[in-house]
Symmetry: C2
Subunit: 247 residues, 2 copies
Amino acid sequence: MSDATIRALSGAVISIADIKTACRDCSLRELCLPLGLDEPDLAALDQIVKRRRTVRKGGHLYRMGEPFQALYAVRSGAMKTSELLGDGRVQITGFQLPGEILGIDAIDSNRHRCNAEALETSEVCEIPWRRLEELARQISGLQHQLLRMMSGEIGRESQLLLMIGKMSADERMLACLYNFSQRQAQLGLSATDIRLHMSRQDLGDYLGLALETVSRLFSRFQEEGLLTVRGKYVHLTSLALIQRRLG
Amino acid sequence: MSDATIRALSGAVISIADIKTACRDCSLRELCLPLGLDEPDLAALDQIVKRRRTVRKGGHLYRMGEPFQALYAVRSGAMKTSELLGDGRVQITGFQLPGEILGIDAIDSNRHRCNAEALETSEVCEIPWRRLEELARQISGLQHQLLRMMSGEIGRESQLLLMIGKMSADERMLACLYNFSQRQAQLGLSATDIRLHMSRQDLGDYLGLALETVSRLFSRFQEEGLLTVRGKYVHLTSLALIQRRLG
DNA sequence: CGTACTATTGAGCGACCTCAATTGGCGTGG
DNA sequence: CCACGCCAATTGAGGTCGCTCAATAGTACG
């Protein structure tokens, strides 16, 4: 019998798995959908968050065209979302770290319009959309946070648009690294020692560059003393220096 | 005394201006925020839509950094939203036609993160955000439509991302023209005879191309028999031909 | 320790940009 | 009404940034 079933049969019962999953006990609470909710509202949200799901590296959380059932919140690991272009060309539209939400682009059409793939083995919380939408009507703070997160997603995409449309290759790379730095810091990690969860290819497909260009830029930045690279690990010499180069 | 004041003093009174503005009488009802609302809900929405505002060609509805107060629905005309890059570089993030919503990228931060400028003299409906958010809590259909429109915006931006990041210049142009065609058709206009509301510069700033490239592409498409151009008017020879070129 | 994948580096090319001159459209004032 | 001026659009010439193709080096994993 699944956790979900137990909950459906008797709302008060909370299994051990539930406790581990519960939003109220989650360290990402203040970065994720529950931001701003008080205790009773948190409990209500916990009621609908169905289960924790694990996606192995390279596995898909959902694929383009699949019917839209739920949003997903990243709990651990890292994901990427990508769009395809018939002949195999790929545009990565975002990398999602813990606390971030996947699937909101599908609300409109009831079908996923991108692929969501795990960059490394990841855990996500599944939030059934029907029930979330309903709950958002009852809990104003939840509606507010949902709207905020969707608006934030629009902002992130505009930002990326500006980068790809109007920045040179090196500006894009630096802006991207700076963004990773900020997001790591927000998660309580180092702002200068970045772990890249994705391949050079992915980075290129995100920034609208060839993977060779990404590699060359890493080398050049290293020569210029902006950073040091060792495989997936990048150390930023000086955030101020990078900020200055970005204007 | 403004319409808003009259309404605030006596909810039942409806001025002539209100009648003309009323969502229930608006031909764009089914393309805009009211989609799916029934009569009483429509009336409630009409209560909060503050007034009709006119923006002259080249005028700004709002500017980057200004505090966020309201969403705007385009009623007539055409707008563009753009982001800037310090040194003057511009990325246009969208063109908005009647029935489309402006401002949702600002919900997150309470500040507008782009400029909204009229491509030609336009009328917009102003929808105070505080009251809309509140009303969305009461009217499930309104919440639903708001979420759908925000999700749609995310989809449009992903689409543009894919175009700019992974398509060649001519593919971008064609995809853009095809998109304009579909949107004109949705408004009940011709799908083959397109009126461009924006300059070549704007088109370039939207597609991540130089204005000269846009101009050259128009000429080349014309040579190839895909379309004919006369200033702001473009006639698409065959939609099927264009679809085929887009894969 | 080999195998396969990922990353780096080099050489050459081409798409698109930049700069510049010309043409066309349109409103304004003589 | 026409001439002028202004701005938008077109077209040409040349340059460059980033891509493609290709070879090599490094790294993970059985």
